[in-house]
């Protein structure tokens, strides 16, 4: 069993990063940059935010490998499903 004893100050620091990234992710869509780049940056920022929550608030950084497997297996299934459906979208629409 993992027991993480991070301090309240550390959790507030992570929250400050999350708020900063929220502002950054929102500002990106208004910047005069190519849409594809903006789209990539917006979802990269979202991925970093999710990563911070998962790693530090859900304490995945200190978890057993079994928990990683349980969490990542459905993500793998989703990716396979999306890739499987891509040709249908690309060639039929």
């Amino acid at each position: 069993m993992s027991t993480v004893n991070d301090t309240g100050y550390f959790y507030c620091e992570i929250w400050a990063w999350l708020v900063g990234l929220l502002v950054a992710g929102t500002v990106i869509v208004f910047l005069p940059i190519p849409k594809l780049l903006a789209l990539t940056l917006v979802f990269a920022v979202a991925a970093v935010k999710a990563g911070l929550v998962i790693r530090h608030y859900m304490h995945l950084k200190a978890e057993h490998v079994l928990i990683y497997l349980i969490a990542l297996l459905p993500v793998l299934f989703i990716i396979i499903m999306a890739i499987s459906l891509l040709p249908d979208i690309a060639f039929r629409h």
């Binding site: 929220l22 869509v29 998962i54 859900m58």
Partner: protein, 205 residues
């Protein structure tokens, strides 16, 4: 090895505990979340693929209010902070802190739902219902399902808060708070992806 067995949940078999040293409750909550990942992941994948196939639904997406979406994201991120602070308070033996942070999490969850209800009402007044088009079907389905999960989390946190006030929480407070927190943070993570997909996409289509 005997000392390690005593750290696990009593209902675990010694064999299982010796292999993973994971409490059944923790494995259970993560298996539950794996199912949730399939539900939300499947929905999000279908949304992205259909949106690409249908040219982005820019006209429909223009009607969602990104300012309100940003505010609600801030509310949910802050509720995640108060939830983890409640767990930290449990581990520090700060019982008043646990009550304060749990109550704050419940209040922020309710605020999130209130803002969401305000948004729904505004959209309905404009004539955008789940039957208006594919974008709106996805919008109501994904945000509605997420709101149901927020409601579930509020109920769990409220039960924990009542237990804390009555003094019945403390026997296994650490694990109870940890599992409730894992669920609450997961709901937050789902919103972190729904926000750019539904609210910020206007400028990107």
């Amino acid at each position: 090895m005997e000392a390690e067995f005593t750290l696990g949940t009593p209902s675990l078999t010694p064999q299982g505990d010796a292999i993973t040293r994971l409490p059944t409750g923790k494995v259970g909550i993560w298996i539950f979340l794996a199912g949730e990942i399939m539900i939300f992941g499947g929905l999000i994948s279908c949304y992205i693929l259909l949106r690409i196939a249908n040219g982005g639904w820019a006209a429909d997406a223009a009607h969602v209010n990104w300012q309100i979406g940003t505010l609600n994201t801030l509310v949910l991120l802050t509720s995640s902070l108060t939830m983890i602070l409640a767990l930290a308070a449990v581990r520090a033996g700060n019982r008043d802190g646990v009550k304060l942070y749990l109550a704050s999490t419940v209040a922020l969850g309710l605020l999130f739902l209130l803002v969401k209800a305000y948004e729904y009402l505004a959209h309905f007044r404009e004539g955008f219902t789940p039957l208006t088009g594919t974008f709106w079907s996805f919008y109501y389905l994904m945000t509605g399902l997420h709101a149901l999960h927020v409601t579930g989390g509020i109920v769990v946190n409220l039960v924990l808060l009542i237990m804390a006030i009555r003094g019945t929480l403390w026997a296994r407070a650490d694990r109870r708070m940890e599992y409730a927190g894992i669920y609450w943070h997961f709901v937050d993570v789902v919103w972190i992806f729904l926000f750019p997909l539904l609210y910020l996409s206007l400028k990107l289509t």
